[in-house]
Symmetry: C2
Subunit: 330 residues, 2 copies
């Protein structure tokens, strides 16, 4: 079968289309004919060689997939040949990625694809959807009556977070960097949108919450955005971060008795611990999508798998709107 192999870390010239053997189905796994994938920051960081979790080279990158089951391994329940599925299944050490004609996937990491989404749309949701669910539902326990601030409303994780918090009954404010993105955030259902390039955190906490701060703040960016999140949270409030990797003054965590939750979505894949939770979350996300409460924001230009390098460059440029998707078109 055809596959995109990363042969060396660095620029996009490390990618190469190669012919490799089809994977054989294993116990607990299914073989999926891959129809679509999408790019997440972890993918280009692995390509660049910046993360220790990447596969041995030459290796196949990318975790997000949508496709059709072609073979079902021993012990797998709930999936049959011909089922359309989606999930985030690999691209890491010991777990091959999906940029190939067929991909072997642990069945616990999959769910049936939302029926009202195309393969390309479905393939943009798994990593960001599970991440946002981990953050807002599992950890921050967002619920009706709460006020929630979501940073980067049109980002991969942000646009799902915004809609999830709304779906769970919160009043949702969100940040973005320009007027166009602010319009998109409002279309996605934000109650208020904040231009963070024009308004400092203290100013919008004052104007939007009368100085009280938010019950929960979702940092999808890291760095200064995490410091701003501490500022934006109310006394006794919650901050969830998917990028708490740097050094921060924790004084606001103390003086406001905050709770900070770090979210590293890949752990169940990397450690083979709790993978069934990912399949369950994807089932919940499917219900929300089919119920009209969640839709993926997919960047207009969709790339063929062979052009994965261009897709990486677009996401790295910061100019993508929502998720950058790839379609299998060998």
């Amino acid at each position: 079968m055809k596959a995109i192999l990363l042969k060396e870390h660095g620029g996009i010239e490390g990618f190469s289309v190669e012919e490799i053997p089809e994977p054989e189905v294993r116990s607990g796994h299914v073989l999926v004919k891959v129809a679509a994938s999408s790019v997440n920051p972890v993918d280009y960081k692995i390509r660049q060689g910046l993360l220790p979790v990447g596969p041995e080279l030459p290796g196949i990158l990318h975790g997000d997939l949508a496709g059709t089951v072609t073979q079902v391994g021993e012990g797998v329940e709930g999936f049959g040949e011909g089922d359309e599925v989606y999930g985030c299944v690999g691209g890491f050490k010991g777990l091959p990625g999906v940029l190939s004609e067929y991909a072997l996937a642990d069945a616990r990491l999959l769910a049936r694809k939302p029926s009202n989404l195309s393969m390309v749309e479905a393939a943009t949701l798994p990593l960001v959807g599970i991440t946002a669910w981990n953050a807002l539902i599992d950890r921050a326990r967002v619920c009706e009556g709460q006020t929630v601030l979501v940073h980067a409303a049109t980002g991969g994780v942000g646009h799902v977070g915004l809609q999830l918090a709304k779906a769970f009954g919160a009043e949702v404010h969100a940040t973005a960097s320009d007027d166009h993105k602010i319009g998109v955030g409002l279309e996605l259902g934000a109650d208020r949108m904040i231009n963070y390039k024009q308004t400092e955190v203290d100013a919008y906490v004052q104007s939007e919450t009368e100085g009280a701060g938010y019950d929960a703040v979702f940092d999808t960016v890291g760095g200064k955005c995490l410091d701003d999140s501490f500022q934006a949270a109310r006394i006794g409030g919650t901050v969830v971060s998917i990028a708490a990797r740097s050094t921060h003054d924790l004084t606001p965590v103390h003086v406001k008795s905050l709770s900070l939750h770090g979210v590293f979505m890949l752990l169940p894949m990397l450690r083979d611990d709790g993978r069934e939770k990912h399949g369950e979350i994807l089932g919940e996300l499917r219900s929300l999508v089919e119920g009209g409460k969640l839709r993926p924001l997919v960047h207009e230009e969709v790339f063929d798998f062979q052009d994965v390098g261009l897709a990486h460059q677009l996401l790295e440029s910061g100019k993508a709107m929502g998720k950058v998707a790839l379609r299998a078109n060998w």
Copy 2:
């Protein structure tokens, strides 16, 4: 009445015994004849002028009190003249402290004194007991089947934290700096004691938890102890800190998907928000004390109120065992 006034920030020479008017009882408050108090680090930091929460000078310091109700204000239910009570009631901006013959106290901050404790013993519990309850019960939700690591087993907050985690069914490991303190920690009920001066965090996580880490870690010290707490927590575990006031590398919070809870026990007093919760916790602590599950660790030498400066110096020296107590002996 007699009172100890702090006349200027700095050394212990700022304290002075003075004659001042007795406070008048107010709605929602009771007047207490003060029998005992104790020293907490916040008291000497206020004396030194290091914290912005201290009273205007000249002012009365110290929050922890045990004593007898002499007058009951309008609207107060649950307390009558002659009741023996304990609580942490003031010593902050707008809330006078207790180093005086009589103290005015918001009744929501009080509970009946545990019947099996002396006034001196009871006065050592409120601030540290409420802090440990906030941290381990309200925030970390410690329960049966969990493993909990408590830092500074013989410290003011630590010795209560150790016993609370045991009372709620956890397996409790705790740290201390020498053999004597390790013996005291075992007497207080620790399942394992760790000499943190002899064993680095990675080593005891390996030897005591087979490398897995603890479900919950209680940082009662701050600084390096908080970094060690991040190291000692299991993947997906919880760290609670009462001293998260410095700058920290949050990488472990991300890569282990940790939860960090900051606890600043004074907030309900300073903001007049949720004070009734303090009275309720003191009621829970009384039940634990009367049930033999919690006892205060009181430093051998007990000081007269007039010698509050010496009591401060002892706690500041780091040589106290448990809480430093003061008795009214005018």
